[in-house]
Symmetry: D2
Subunit: 154 residues, 4 copies
């Protein structure tokens, strides 16, 4: 509908910084999520279907869809943050539009607006069924940049 903004990261080491942070998230390991793409203001997380992450209908749990969407948004934002900072989620909102029914999910997030304090990201989750992509969730997230704080436990 409109041209996507192009972002220039302030930290040239953004990709290694994002990947390192993702790898220190035990919750992403627990569900089997993988960071499949990091670019300035953009992040994708893949999640293969496993029985352990389903709900009572045998579909991937809506909360798990939210987990990868929230993480993708956090890292889309964090890719633009300065090296000496960390990221926290202020809020997110997700519409679950179609069953998360496939063999794997891909959560894609893009920064819509990058500010010094707050960064807004769009979220989209796609389900792969028989080689075709279904747009199964869409959402928005607001991330905050904590300047001068390490991305590790306090």
């Amino acid at each position: 509908m409109t041209a996507l903004p192009e972002f220039r990261p302030s930290d040239p080491g953004f990709e290694a910084r994002v990947r390192d942070s993702f790898n220190r998230q035990p919750a992403m390991h627990l569900i089997g999520a993988r960071l499949s793409l990091v670019a300035p203001g953009h992040c994708e997380i893949e999640l293969p279907r496993r029985a352990e992450i389903t709900q009572q209908h045998g579909l991937i749990h809506g909360g798990v869809v939210g987990m990868i969407a929230d993480s993708a948004a956090g890292y889309a934002a964090y890719s633009l943050f300065p090296a000496d900072s960390t990221v926290m989620t202020v809020e997110y909102k997700l519409n679950l539009m179609a069953p998360a029914a496939g063999d794997r999910l891909v959560a894609r997030s893009r920064v819509t607006r990058h500010g010094r304090t707050l960064t807004i990201c769009s979220l989209d989750v796609f389900s792969w069924v028989d080689g075709a992509e279904t747009h199964c969730a869409t959402g928005l997230a607001t991330m905050i940049c904590l300047h001068g704080r390490a991305d590790t436990p306090r």
Copy 2:
């Protein structure tokens, strides 16, 4: 601020139905969540802190907070649904207000408005630190009642 609505469940067996459905959610087992309270239009889910469900700061992952909030809302709604139905999440929105820093979380959801098709629920998540409760997240969810459909895989 205003009196909470009191609900009369249409299905007297609502509690067993909700507990049975919760028990068939592998994702709740995976993170270690427990259904601690079911009442008409009300549900609470407890989650002890474990390293496996944390993020890079050592706090419980915001997406995991969303998982128990979404499930609590789904079951608060489902407690009011007829026996011959199932529940799906249309959308949810969560504000993460304080770090999920304690030994355990409690997600509480209450039905705000119960309709034939759509049911709206409030969500609140509390973190227990040193015996004191911190209100760490608040949100809203919209649930849909699928009449005449079983609460099992199709």
Copy 3:
């Protein structure tokens, strides 16, 4: 990021039906909004800046931004609904990313997923300042189709 869905309206008279409904919204006249584009699953509403619709900083009120965003989403959805139906907003969420500072606003909404009961729409509001477009708000809305009900007062 991904190809937008293309929609085929079930009612060939969708544009006249949408324009007629918009014209029967006194609240849109009150703020001076104009329906600038209707296409299948797509709607744009323009709003020139006037002092009457501002807030205490002299910017267009955030709630007025929400009004045109909500209406644009309602009519993007309604363009795909059958002739014998009406539309109601279930919920909407809006991030106000930049001041609504220009001479006019344009709210654009597109249907992301069209279902028989629920239709999900994306919302974007742009502000025109000195001939340049600023993306000042982004959001999501859930609309419900009330089949067999007239789009007029009961």
Copy 4:
């Protein structure tokens, strides 16, 4: 469900400051809204029904419901802010649960969490029909405090 937080305003002149700011919002005058209550972390706005603020079904427009909800949240937050500051809406989300069908609406907002930068507010809108209150909308808003900036046009 849980005790509401009690707030101590940092500015003893908070009520006059909030009322003055509200009175400088032309958009609130345009729709006929009135600031009916200001207390620390709490605000109520009343809106009598007039034909000019309705939509095509003769109900108060959902976007107008959002306008008074957004303003109530902004002023609930602003009541707790320091004298030398202003408030902006980061985002809001509203579920329209029942038609805004009565003679007047009352939007009530309470601060759920007050932080130095971000303040989270709950929103509820009630419609008065034949002397009885209907809970017609519920929502959440995130407000930002701009320290050291005047609450007037720049």
